[in-house]
Symmetry: C2
Subunit: 455 residues, 2 copies
């Protein structure tokens, strides 16, 4: 046998018990809010046909898909010419039919179309599953990470957007994370693209605008020029990128500038509605209308939303928007939807850095019964059985090793109580309970011990 | 845009909201028992290095691994000779470095070795995650399915085996599934292989014995012969395969037959201990000692366990065993462990067929507020906010469509109550609550409604 040094693929992570309880806490908070707001769970396979995934995330996204090698003698079905040309991209398509889920939105659209006859619309679904991207790993960017999505499909009411903003508000309030929520509307961006005479370039322009925070206005101008946007159009675009940061002032100014664009005006009205509604229905959440917010994904057509932590610069921790035709590519036309996605891994990083996990989010075992040896063993197992019957997470150390080792184990596992059941204790039916935090020991009957553990 | 007919890879499944609540029920029961017994959660990545996975599941297992195509220009790093030879297996190793998790045990062993300095042993961990196998799909066999594992590593006490049997007992009692539990011990099988003069062929012999229930004794003899086991050895083996089915009778007979095999006798003692302990500590569970139980996986070295449904012939729904050196290949010697794995997908199939899901395992939304239009909208949203504040899953239909459509929606989603908030109701602050099961309508104040929904 060759000895292997154990390792995991870069960009992936193991999660220890201490990390898991914190992660579970985040998932449970998000899931609890989704359920309270009437969303139902679904799950889709990790593997999707590549035909489902390709072309949905832009050229860059296609490259980041993890592709699964076909099983069996896959080479026998390949075209020798492709191999000789050494074209990895074309060759990949000959030896791979499946890929790993890249997000939850496209599989959801596929699910909706495939199961359209069993779904009653509007369909409010949530989905909490990992996704995979062959991205370069860096801070806050992993190759395997969880998304927590809520979408409503089959309703174009803006009340859905309002509800999703309420969910964002409630989740981050519960998690104790300070956030800034930015909103914008793709219809406004389309209106602007129209106005500057570049309606076909809208996606390209928004992709560049999206980077303004990172690279600055002058670099945005430069990149737009490199991408072939005429100087005149860039000049006409510029005032939109340097507008006031007061929500209702931007709206006023935009209404004037875009008063010839039906689409643009509709977008402004939608933003206005969301701002007014969140003002009346939310407590903490005050979205900022930010005209430079574009969101990379091409399928958005209406409202777009992005959430960042005020304290930790780790990028977007939640985002979403409305898409008017995501199911169209799979054959179901004119079904509008809107959704948001929480990035659980980044949320974890923020909470860890800000130390905002509640103190009760710790290991769950409440008591360890010390193993003194075979003589007391049966008695210990009987006591253990009763404690467990009361629903209390508990354990009996499986080996009769030194007391010190067993105490070290209890401490390492953050078990708050240890029970000593010796000869004397068995006789008196009064067992020694040690509080591992205070160090206090007391002799108690089993019913008293169970009572204490329940607190 | 080309229209795509949506589909998913064969052997994979989508899960609808109705399936999800039932699946969640199973996971929660298993997780709850694991926690009560003092097991802590971990998670490992879906992607592992192929070097971690290959050679751990036998030749057959290696073929069933889903391999991930390397990113980028993978062809440039290949050896032209391998391609010309059209050897898919060798070529796969040149263009793929990662694979999908095949089970949870090998990743767990890898985790333990990699994190040995942070772990206090014995390490009791549970892990509930999907695994992937490129197996031919058939009833009860999926290409993506969940395993729910509990293992104790770093303790060779047989009390761990007893505890795992208790967990099996408790989980299936809670799930209301009638089971038969078979146990055996690899040390006995090794002792028999010794006795018949075939110590090196033990794995091969057990693999064949494992099929006895499927193919019968005469075919087992035939296959052993084909695999080169001498006639004499097969003749000596036969009495072991046709022994009594009474636990303590087999033990008595085995002790005589194997009285020269130290290893064999130790195995018998271990089985005896488990049978005695389960007799004194369990209520429902009575394991059957079955000498023909072998379990395919080569890493087992001691007790082996297998659970089947008494009512649905779907194969093993839980299984496990002791492994004395699983971490050895990763560089950590002499660490014994024992574990079990619940097959949640087959458990689901059994429960569905036997109709044993509790009736309260249904959709969670408790109330739908009907949308009559803009005039009543704000009032409805206020009421909704209060109901949600009380923690009750609830929703407001987002569009002001016909009442009938909204009622159909409530029925399809199995929402038990619908609230009607019309002009009159707003004035009187008495809202019409309709019970969707009985059809009864009554006018109630909001506090009364919330009280009712809480029941």
């Amino acid at each position: 046998m060759i000895m292997q040094k154990p390792s995991i693929p870069k960009g992936t992570r193991d999660f220890s018990p201490f990390e898991m309880v914190k992660r579970d806490y985040i998932f449970n908070v998000i899931k609890g809010v989704f359920i309270k707001y009437g969303y139902s769970p679904i799950e889709t396979p990790a593997l999707e046909n590549l035909s489902t995934l390709l072309g949905k995330y832009g050229e860059e996204g296609d490259k980041l898909l993890f592709k699964i090698l076909n099983s069996g003698d896959f080479l026998s079905k390949t075209n020798p010419a492709t191999i000789q040309e050494k074209d990895s991209n074309s060759f990949a398509m000959e030896i791979s039919e499946k890929g790993l889920r890249y997000d939850l939105t496209v599989p959801f659209a596929r699910y909706v179309v495939q199961n359209r006859n069993d779904i009653t619309f509007p369909f409010k679904r949530y989905q909490i599953q990992p996704v995979w991207r062959a991205d370069r790993p860096q801070r806050g960017r992993y190759r395997e990470f969880y998304q927590c999505d809520a979408d409503v499909i089959g309703s174009d009411s803006l009340l859905n957007e309002v509800e999703l903003l309420q969910i964002i508000d409630e989740v981050f309030t519960l998690l104790n994370i300070n956030i800034t929520v930015k909103i914008n509307n793709r219809k406004i961006l389309a209106g602007i693209a129209d106005l500057i005479g570049q309606p076909d370039k809208m996606n390209e322009i928004t992709t560049v605008i999206d980077k303004i925070e990172k690279i600055g206005l002058s670099n945005v101008r430069k990149e737009l020029k490199e991408r072939g946007i005429p100087e005149k159009a860039i000049a006409e675009l510029s005032p939109f990128l340097t507008m006031s940061n007061k929500n209702f002032e931007i709206i006023k100014e935009l209404k004037e500038r875009l008063n010839n664009s039906e689409q643009g005006l509709r977008g402004i009205e939608e933003v206005e509605f969301l701002l007014k509604m969140t003002e009346s229905y939310n407590i903490n959440l005050k979205p900022d209308f930010d005209l430079t917010l574009a969101r990379g994904l091409n399928y958005y057509t209406g409202a777009i939303i992005e959430v960042r932590s005020d304290d930790v610069p780790i990028g977007s921790i939640c985002g979403g928007g409305r898409y008017d035709d995501l199911t169209g590519i799979f054959g179901l036309k004119d079904v509008s939807g809107v959704g948001i996605s929480f990035g659980a891994d980044r949320i974890y990083d923020v909470m860890e850095q800000m130390k905002v996990f509640p103190s009760e989010v710790t290991a769950s075992v409440r008591i360890l019964i010390v193993n003194f040896g075979e003589k007391e063993q049966n008695q210990c197992l009987e006591i253990l059985k009763k404690i467990r019957k009361a629903g209390i997470p508990s354990e009996f150390y499986p080996d009769a090793v030194k007391l010190k080792k067993q105490m070290t184990y209890a401490n390492a596992k953050q078990i708050p109580y240890v029970l000593l059941v010796g000869e004397e204790e068995i006789k008196s039916r009064q067992y020694t309970l040690k509080n591992m935090i205070t160090g206090i020991q007391e002799k108690l009957a089993l019913t008293e011990i169970i009572e204490k553990l329940r607190q």
